[in-house]
């Protein structure tokens, strides 16, 4: 049985002295009936053997289909009805729900709220990129700063909501700090739509910068140090090093961050729901969908809204895959 030790890699499936066990990986067609291991023969040709992968996959696939694919399918079918989510009967209404979403201003308005979060994520990515670049070099207290920048991402969303409700409330943290700095203000930060949305988007930057930061930092640190040294010998300055060494190597992570930012901006829920409940013009697409479905029992309309959101996110992902055909597509 020493042959197995010669073939360290599974890639070597072909060859004259292929160990008997390797045949398994070459697929059903290539399997020879004269399996040389007496024990192997007993199970290899039984129907049980063909079933084996399915025994492992049964539970995962059942869960995947039940909780991902069936909901998507039923959501699409609900979206063409006026179902209220409870009563046994429902009427087909055609595309009426979709027409409502795009024509009733109060339903359509939530898309504009996403704009605040989208703008915030541009800031967030820039800040994260700056600190990742800075902290990829040797600094004192480097790990301390790294921890500080990342920690907000780990905090419970409800706790963050309360921390910032107190931060923005009248006489709260922000007002006190401004008063200390001599800028007395009695501005109600969550009082009007623009100010409230800017404040909430700011909280989102506070919360999520850490994730982008760690992703960028990981990408930058995987650059071999010799590259910087070579660049320096050639007289490249800091900016040129960033432009020609760091920037190209973080492109995949940057494109991933942009996708996360866009789909994240469209599906904001926790922060505005916890802090304002969607009041004063801060309702987002998901808050509105949840309210339609679970408070107003408009399951049909809510489903149509969810289908629209899903379609937008799939479209954006598809565009990104087309624009940045990177190696991540070979996941499977």
């Amino acid at each position: 049985m020493t042959e197995t030790t010669y073939t360290a890699s599974r890639a070597t499936v072909a060859g004259p002295q292929r160990p008997p066990g390797k045949a398994r990986r070459t697929g059903r067609g290539a399997r020879h009936p004269e399996g040389r291991t007496p024990r192997g023969r007993s199970w290899r040709h039984s129907p049980l053997q063909r079933m084996t992968p399915w025994l492992f996959l049964a539970a995962p696939l059942a869960l995947l289909i039940t909780f991902t694919y069936v909901p998507v399918a039923s959501m699409v079918s609900y979206s063409f009805t006026d179902w209220d989510g409870v009563s046994p009967d429902r009427n087909a209404t055609g595309v009426d729900n979709y027409v409502q979403i795009f024509t009733r201003p109060e339903l359509f308005r939530v898309f504009f709220v996403s704009g605040y979060y989208l703008a915030a994520s541009v800031l967030q990515i820039a800040v994260a990129l700056y600190f990742a670049t800075v902290l990829s070099f040797d600094l004192r207290f480097r790990n301390f700063f790294k921890g500080i920048l990342f920690f907000p991402y780990l905090i419970n969303g409800v706790a963050i909501g309360f921390v910032f409700l107190y931060f923005f409330q009248d006489g709260g943290t922000l007002d006190s700090v401004l008063a200390r700095l001599g800028v007395g203000t009695d501005h109600a930060w969550l009082g009007d739509p623009t100010s409230a949305n800017v404040s909430l988007a700011g909280v989102s930057v506070w919360r999520f910068t850490g994730l982008n930061f760690v992703l960028f930092l990981g990408a930058i640190q995987s650059i071999p140090g010799e590259l910087y040294e070579a660049a320096e010998l050639d007289g490249a300055g800091k900016w040129q090093q960033f432009r020609h060494i760091i920037a190209p190597s973080i492109r995949p992570v940057l494109s991933l961050s942009i996708i996360l930012a866009i789909s994240g901006s469209l599906s904001v829920f926790e922060i505005p729901y916890i802090m304002t409940g969607g009041a004063t013009g801060t309702s987002t697409f998901v808050i509105q969908t949840v309210k339609l479905a679970f408070q107003f029992n408009k399951t049909g309309l809510a489903s149509a809204a969810a289908v629209v959101l899903l379609a937008i996110i799939l479209l954006i992902t598809w565009i990104q895959r087309r624009l940045v055909p990177d190696d991540k597509v070979d996941l499977v």
């Binding site: 073939t7 291991t37 995947l64 419970n156 007002d175 640190q221 479905a293 679970f294 399951t299």
Partner: protein
């Protein structure tokens, strides 16, 4: 990033010549200069003439922005309600050991039940995710079967469907199983919709030599034994990653328990804390204490497991 799962861990071992990657390990940077920042090191990129000062200013500013809101809430949680009512937010509490608010939050806020429910949900959903994710990865990587491409496509496409969008219809399914308002609803959903962990296991299982399976197979082990006795024990680092990511995201999740657990005694820490909003209204000292109670376990876990957490989230997000 490359899909190589070891990329993140391999970094500190990179070049020992004091390069930026080596810095995280500390000792590799040693030979060149004991104090790399200030020493006039030959490597010019270490010297930020004015830059160094500005860099530290920006880092300190970021630290203040991160810590100030949290610190104020910590201070508020130690104040009496009179102090909260008339002092401004930045004043210090009169008694630094005033834990009354924590007692209030703990007893009136149903926090013990909430921590119990969260622990219950964490235990089963993490256990289930680990078993399901590793089984899926084992089946996909180690077997050839007719519908393999289709199965892989099902898992791949599912990563694109954000679960927030489908809850409208998922709710009807969970309702059909009569699981709404039981702790099994979140457990099943956390288990069934976690495709990221499948990818983490898949990446890792590819690095385990097939010859190990072969050897065991020749000794008469069947597939289940190989999975249990050989593959699963070798997957430990991947299990650690999945447990950390899954644990933190489940602990923090608000959306699922909010939709599925309505009874007061079924609250998780997120929904229990959310319910502080009603009864405690303007009692910021109690709300602050509740928020701090929820943050402390996260802080402890973070301080203990920093390295794994960074790597885990970096892996989880890039998959």
């Amino acid at each position: 990033m490359t899909p190589d799962p070891t990329a993140a861990q391999a970094v500190p071992a990179g070049s020992p010549a004091g390069s930026p990657p080596g810095a995280s390990a500390g000792s590799p940077a040693g030979p060149t200069a004991p104090a790399p920042v200030r020493a006039p090191a030959p490597a010019g990129r270490r010297r930020f003439p004015v830059g160094t000062a500005l860099t530290y200013v920006s880092l300190l500013a970021a630290t203040a922005v991160v810590l100030l809101p949290l610190a104020v809430v910590l201070l508020t949680s130690l104040k009496t309600s009179e102090e909260v009512a008339d002092g401004n937010a930045l004043t210090l509490p009169g008694d630094w050991l005033n834990l009354d608010n924590y007692v209030t939050a703990f007893t009136d806020g149903h926090m013990p039940a909430a921590f119990g429910n969260t622990a219950f949900i964490l235990f089963f959903s993490i256990g289930g995710t680990v078993v399901i994710g590793s089984m899926t990865a084992y089946a996909i990587d180690r077997f050839e079967f007719r519908a393999k491409k289709l199965v892989m496509a099902l898992f791949l496409v599912a990563t694109l469907v954000p679960s927030v969008t489908t809850q409208v219809a998922t709710f009807q399914i969970v309702n059909g199983f009569e699981l709404v308002d039981t702790r099994w609803a979140p457990i099943l959903l956390y288990m069934g919709t976690d495709i990221v962990s499948v990818y983490i296991f898949l990446q890792f299982i590819r690095g385990i030599p097939v010859s190990l399976d072969e050897a065991a197979r020749l000794d008469g082990a069947n597939s289940l034994t190989i999975y249990r006795k050989i593959i699963f024990p070798l997957l430990k680092p991947a299990v650690a990653t999945v447990v950390i990511i899954k644990g933190i995201t489940t602990y923090n999740d608000f959306y699922i328990p909010f939709l599925y657990l309505h009874s007061e005694d079924l609250g998780t820490i997120s929904t229990a804390l959310f319910r502080f909003k009603g009864p405690f209204g303007a009692h910021w000292e109690a709300i602050s204490a509740g928020a701090i109670l929820v943050i402390i376990p996260t802080l402890v876990v973070f301080l203990l497991l920093q390295r794994w957490i960074y790597n885990g989230f970096a892996q989880g997000a890039t998959k």
